[in-house]
């Protein structure tokens, strides 16, 4: 190793990765049973990187190449029903095409983890980031986490299976990273050792496997009475996800040293104006807040990481504690 690089703690613990590569590394360390894939910009490098790990024998995941995102989500539903720890990935029009099956996965309480490279919906056709794609799935019953940078994209992909598979949750979980801004931007990322990720994520057993030998009915027709009952259970599961998110954030901190809040206040004390943001723009805004604070402006930021279930109470207390302005009441 060159003399300049010797004993440098930063490069010893971090490597240069794009957000897409970071998410793929989390998938490699988790080693899910099944990943159904269909490429779409800007998500493609996630499954491309992961497919290479599979081809190189670093994981024994079954990759299912399908002919559309509708099929990718359908294959994920089938695999998850069989009891497989299942993941997929998509963006933009791909999530739009998946959407009817996303609702079905949520109502069947299938803990599928979906990595998303957030991208604007057409039209006009556009490959760059906004959150319209995941917001299209806002009411689908899928838990949604939107990350700020490549490190968070990695961390939440590690946390996601445990959140999805928690007995009180059992819902699909989306982990979004901003298309191109994070998926294709390379920055230092700290990966946990493989065995620590495996220990954190643990084993998974579906409570009601399709292949148990017992006769079960899954995804049946439901008249309004049972439809209502199932939807009520989904609501309770979604509400439970907020507490599980906090518990897992705390558990993950013991492994990583990084602690994430569902809603995080940044320099909100005594702020009379604040931005509320999700994704990579929250990082940029923190620098802007610092610059304006240095000029004496009382400004702050509330960063929403957990979009569904929306942490309304936490948001309200985060923002309104600092500001009497009704503009920030949520």
């Amino acid at each position: 190793m060159p003399a300049e690089a010797r004993e440098n703690p930063l490069s010893a613990r971090m490597q240069l990765l794009t957000g897409a590569e970071a998410a793929a590394h989390a998938m490699r360390q988790i080693n899910p049973d099944v990943v159904s894939v269909y490429p779409i910009t800007p998500q493609t490098p996630i499954i491309q990187t992961f497919a290479k790990f599979v081809a190189d024998g670093e994981v024994d995941t079954e990759i299912i190449n399908v002919e559309s995102e509708h099929s990718a989500m359908s294959a994920a539903v089938g695999a998850a029903q069989a009891g497989a720890r299942t993941m997929t990935a998509t963006a933009s029009q791909g999530l739009a095409l998946m959407i009817e099956i996303v609702y079905i996965a949520a109502s069947m309480r299938l803990p599928i983890v979906m990595a998303v490279g957030n991208r604007a919906l057409s039209g006009p056709i556009n490959i760059h980031c906004d959150h319209a794609d995941s917001m299209l799935a806002r009411d689908s019953g899928m838990v949604q986490i939107l990350t700020e940078n490549a490190q968070e994209a990695y961390d939440f992909m590690v946390i996601a299976p445990r959140l999805a598979e928690h007995p009180e949750v059992m819902l699909p979980v989306l982990v979004g990273q901003d298309g191109f801004t994070i998926t294709h931007s390379a920055e230092p990322v700290s990966l946990l050792p493989d065995e620590q990720v495996r220990r954190f994520v643990g084993d998974y057993r579906i409570p009601y496997p399709l292949l148990s030998g017992e006769v079960v009915t899954q995804g049946p027709f439901a008249m309004p009475d049972y439809y209502f009952e199932i939807k009520a259970q989904q609501v309770r599961a979604m509400q439970a996800a907020a507490q599980v998110f906090d518990d897992l954030s705390e558990a993950y901190e013991a492994y990583s040293g990084r602690r994430y809040q569902a809603v995080e206040g940044y320099r909100l004390d005594d702020a009379d104006r604040a931005l509320i943001l999700m994704g990579s723009s929250a990082g940029t805004a923190k620098d802007v807040v610092d610059q304006l604070r240095a000029k004496g402006e009382k400004v702050g930021l509330a960063q929403v990481r957990l979009f569904r279930p929306f942490p309304a109470a936490a948001s309200s207390s985060t923002v309104s504690a600092s500001s009497p302005s009704p503009a920030f009441s949520l």
Binding site: P2, A186, P188, T284
Partner: protein, 189 residues
Amino acid sequence: MKEIRWHGRGGQGAKTVSQLLAVALLTEGHYVQAFPEYGPERSGAPVQAYDRIDDKPIRLHCAVTHPSLVVVLDAGLLAEVPVTLGLPADGLLLINSPDAAAQIGERLHFGGRIITVPGDRLAVAAGTHFANVVLLGAAAQVLGEPGLETLVQAAQDGMKKLSPAAQEASIRAIRSGYAAIDTQRRAYA
């Protein structure tokens, strides 16, 4: 924070060198960011890539609008792309061109500092047709970091997919680009 903008054409390796520079700087203990700018992806179309370098974690994820160093991998772009856009008067323009810096300054109506490196010729002499690696070496010399051997190591690690001959040619090209810059002009760093 230092910000760098690379101009090239799709296929010339602007993104590759932005990442190799970032890896080498991370190895030397800097926080970094490297990202390309994507549009309709066509081989030969003008593309940009960027680096950010700081001694603390980088939270910015907006576009780089005021780089302090601009590197142009293909002098043919000077006629089509406003390469000096956002470059402050004390910024530096590093161009792959056999022409004198003064000549280029006149063409661009740019009064700031310009350094030219005959990247195409040096690349061919090193055994490659890719001038991006020559300009990568030159950029490291201009910046004052990373050290040449750190950069060479980053390139060796990042180019494992290339044939051994192509790797060696690339390393020679990095070294010749690094050596091509008169050390007196390292004032930028």
